[in-house]
Symmetry: C2
Subunit: 573 residues, 2 copies
């Protein structure tokens, strides 16, 4: 809509007048939550009264009547929850399906870092996610990916410097620069990462951190550079050291990392003001079985946190950090985002409102219209595999290569020596990463021990952070066939044994499905079972574990498109 400034002010004036009239009681509100007991994050207590909403905003608490009334007697009304840091792609579904999944859990705002899709599609990936989240009833805010590619060793779909992402800061849903993982580069004063911080600051935007265990003057340097938060704290001392130096602490409890238990002591008067909750990654079954931020709040209360403090951390604190000052509280002028629960102990979510509209009831979300995405972006997102059909010979290698030794229950690995052949009996399998973005024909080959596969191959295009195809197989032919099928699907997870035994198509950039979460989860769980049936150890997630095998920052050995890499010695071996 083309609109003059005077026209805009006049339009907003009309809307504001309607809000004022409803607040003053001269006109009925659009919605009134009658007889509500609600969490007041300002006075840190439970207050009583009707909550009136007009034009999507809370206009007042007190005594009100409305066109729609919802009797909340006996229940507790909370502000909508906010996930302070997530990669939406990790849910394996489109943003719309993600929204349908988290709304019944009370999430009304998430701050996403489209790091995964940006590694595949570059700035087109960011734009795709912006368009795919436009108008969703979960307000999706963005932090711009700061590390694409994740490392200089990566062969990703794009490399983004500060200039590449700069124009996105003008987008009204972009809050800043996402987790600056390259803390080594910041502390060294390297141009590229420091420029990104400087540019985000020039736009008056936030910069999130990612610096596990950083301390002392190096931590000072990282924070002084302009990094305002951290979500990697896994022990209390680390968190307090960062908090004391001014960083906001995102207490993370997601699928891949769960830090709430260690950090629960932060949820006290002394520290809570500087804390918020995030999940970082939420996989389909985790979302379905446990929930989202509601699960963290419930768990925090079970761990002894004051319920009002836990709720405040789940909504208000993150909102203030991200300068989303119209949410995270039940007060005049705030968004009509509500979570109605039965009580703090059971924490069953009865209804969820977004901007005063009922969006979920007893776990069932309302239908959400599909956001409109520009055709060129859709085409681009569904066409991200650029490689030639693979033959068994592409995986053949007669030189000895390193054996990556898996550690049950961990994503770290050990150096398990060398091999020049597959040996299924001794659980020495072939592992390879196939570059798939730019048809470079780069294929890195090595060996994997501890996976347990007895027959066939497993391949996936979810492989952090470049999302090339990673494949583990019992023969070179199995490797080729499984990887080829991933490419044929336009991305996904494939279990192959003489044919497709299971598959999870992920055609959006090779990392997300366009199907509902429930359906994706079923396919994924079926594929896991199939992989286990083919011998993959029960204590290993067959796909998630593989997805980290190509991330050359986790010790000790990793597989890259250029071969096996020793993270400890920083050498190819």
């Amino acid at each position: 809509m083309s609109e003059s400034y005077a026209g805009k002010i006049n339009r907003k004036l009309q809307k504001k007048r309607r809000i004022i009239n409803a607040a003053a009681g001269r006109e009925p509100a659009d919605l009134v939550l009658k007889n509500a007991s609600y969490v007041n994050v300002f006075s840190n207590e439970i207050c009583q009264g009707d909550i009136a909403v007009a034009e999507g905003l809370i206009v007042g608490m007190g005594s009100y009547s409305g066109k729609t009334e919802d009797d909340c007697g006996g229940k507790i009304v909370l502000p909508g929850f906010l996930d302070a840091h997530i990669h939406l792609e990790s849910s394996l579904v489109s943003p719309r399906e993600f929204a349908r999944a988290v709304l019944p859990h009370g999430t009304t705002t998430v701050v996403t870092d489209p790091h995964e899709i940006a590694n595949v599609m570059g700035t087109d990936g960011i734009e795709f996610m912006l368009q795919a989240t436009e108008g969703l009833p979960v307000d999706v805010r963005f932090m711009l990916p700061s590390c694409v590619p994740a490392t200089p060793l990566d062969e990703s779909g794009a490399a983004l410097d500060y200039r590449a992402i700069d124009s996105f800061y003008d987008h009204p849903r972009v809050q800043g620069l996402a987790e600056m993982m390259n803390f080594v580069g910041i502390i060294a004063g390297d141009d590229q990462p420091v420029e990104k911080i400087v540019a985000s600051q020039a736009h008056h935007k936030k910069i999130d951190g990612h610096a596990p265990d950083l301390q002392g003057n190096d931590l000072n340097a990282y924070i002084a550079a302009g990094v305002y938060s951290d979500h990697e704290c896994h022990d209390l001392q680390d968190a307090i050291a960062k908090l004391e130096r001014g960083q906001f602490i995102m207490i993370r409890d997601g699928t891949a990392a769960r830090n709430l238990e260690a950090l629960a002591p932060l949820l006290c008067d002394k520290y809570a003001e500087r804390c918020m909750f995030c999940t970082d990654d939420k996989h389909p079954n985790d979302l379905l079985e446990k929930g989202h931020i509601d699960y963290i709040v419930k768990k925090a209360i079970a761990l002894g946190a004051d319920p009002i403090t836990a709720v405040k951390v789940a909504c208000h604190n993150a909102a203030r950090y991200f300068l989303l000052n119209n949410r995270g509280a039940i007060a005049p002028g705030y968004l009509g985002d509500f979570v109605i629960i039965d009580n703090f102990q059971d924490f069953n979510i009865r209804r969820v409102y977004k901007k005063g509209v009922l969006m979920a009831e007893n776990g069932v979300p309302r239908e959400i219209p599909e956001p409109k995405i520009e055709p060129y972006l859709l085409e681009r997102a569904y066409d991200t595999f650029h490689l030639q059909t693979l033959a068994p010979e592409d995986f053949a290698d007669h030189r000895p290569r390193g054996i990556i030794g898996m550690v049950p229950g961990e994503i770290t690995t050990v150096d398990a020596g060398y091999s020049d052949r597959i040996d299924v009996e001794y659980d020495v399998l072939k592992i390879a990463v196939v570059e798939r973005h730019k048809n470079t024909r780069h294929i890195g080959v090595g060996y994997l021990q501890g996976y347990g596969l007895k027959s066939g191959a497993v391949a996936t295009s979810i492989s952090h952070d470049s999302h090339n195809i990673i494949v583990v197989g019992c023969t070179d032919a199995d490797c080729a066939a499984a990887a080829n099928h991933v490419a044929e699907l336009g991305g996904g997870i494939v279990v192959w044994d003489g044919g497709v035994k299971a598959e999870v198509p992920l055609p959006i950039a090779g990392i997300m499905s366009d199907r509902p979460l429930l359906e994706v989860n079923e396919a994924l769980e079926a594929a896991k079972a199939t992989a286990h049936a083919l011998g993959v150890s029960q204590d290993i997630d067959p796909f998630m574990t593989l997805s980290f095998m190509a991330l050359p920052v986790i010790p000790s050995l990793r597989i890259t498109t250029r071969g096996v890499f020793d993270v400890t010695s920083q050498n190819y071996i």
Copy 2:
């Protein structure tokens, strides 16, 4: 300086690298406060360590060495203080002299509403104050005046609608829209005041409130309209009602209104996060005798507040409210603004640093260069009296007029009947307001009882909020002579008795001196003594009381340029 975006990023990169290097300890810091005990507003405790500063920013706490070192052993280091709401003009001195006065008291940031000068000079007044504060070592931030003129009855120098002030939102030191005093207009949904709020929100700026005793759904309406704070709370219940609804509470303790004692219970865990300190108005002798925000902090501690809480309210909370996120804490990345005190009980301020530069020591400020002001603005500020020379006949009036009855110790007045002549014996004096902005020759005449003047006249161009000339005299000739001399001075305070007996020239817009605070205070105190010697009652401030006589919002009778006005009945009498 004309600079490309790429050039700007590169310049900031170089500066950031220097900060990182100093933080990491690779280069010496510019300044190190050695062996400091400092207030940590994040962990709410006293921490120990060296505090290092480079490029004006704190780069780290720990163990550091610097080009300049200041041993802070045995002392306590606090972040610089912030006044959340003041009208700088009320100090009667120029911003530079104000800065010299408050720096020794630890104030490093103030948020001013140039309401007074804007009533005289309109947007030129705002621009004058912006230029007059540029580069001062007290960072002066602005809230744009929302109510010029203060009432429709006022004859001020300008009338500012939202369009008039709109371009100022782009100025980097403008934080939003100042106290929206017209809460009646907001609740009624009137175009002009609501447009101003809407426009400030369109610029993503703050809106401060001013709504004494407003409650219930009307308070909801005022807050829902977009008013984020209040500094008019004079009792605890009023403050909590506003705080619970989401407003930030500015606890005011200044010259004209002192609310700290009533509101001190807010300085507790439950509420303090939503509170800050302000003075609103600080007159010269009050600044000199008591101090500024330091006085409030000291008094709060004496009233039983936790010292760390009081300090946090004095710096951090206001900074966060105004989105001045680089100050109000001692942590990496924050401004090197420090107040070094001996201890919390005595609260003697030893040294004050602004951006790492020592600006005051043991009460003595460093010299401050005069900010450069465009000549046209200087000329405009020194030429704000546009009226013809007054004759005694201009004050003559043979019709009966209302008698304004003064109430000792109050700024309210009572209706004291009618008179058609001066009667010094019965303390019935002439009072008049002379329009002085636009040569309209409007002179409102009435009578005043209770002032006590026995001979001559007192005149001042400080008369809220339009700053016309207000004069009280024993004869029409005295009135004319005193008012004429105010105009000759280009503004000021005059005590006349057959000639000038005392004067305080205020040539900047007729409301500020260009002399140092000490000198202005001496002249002012001498003038007060002279006025008292001429009979003005000892329990009346001869000038401040007069300055409120023309404000047609305080009951019951006021004098305006159009005659005596009854605020209660809203009629001229």
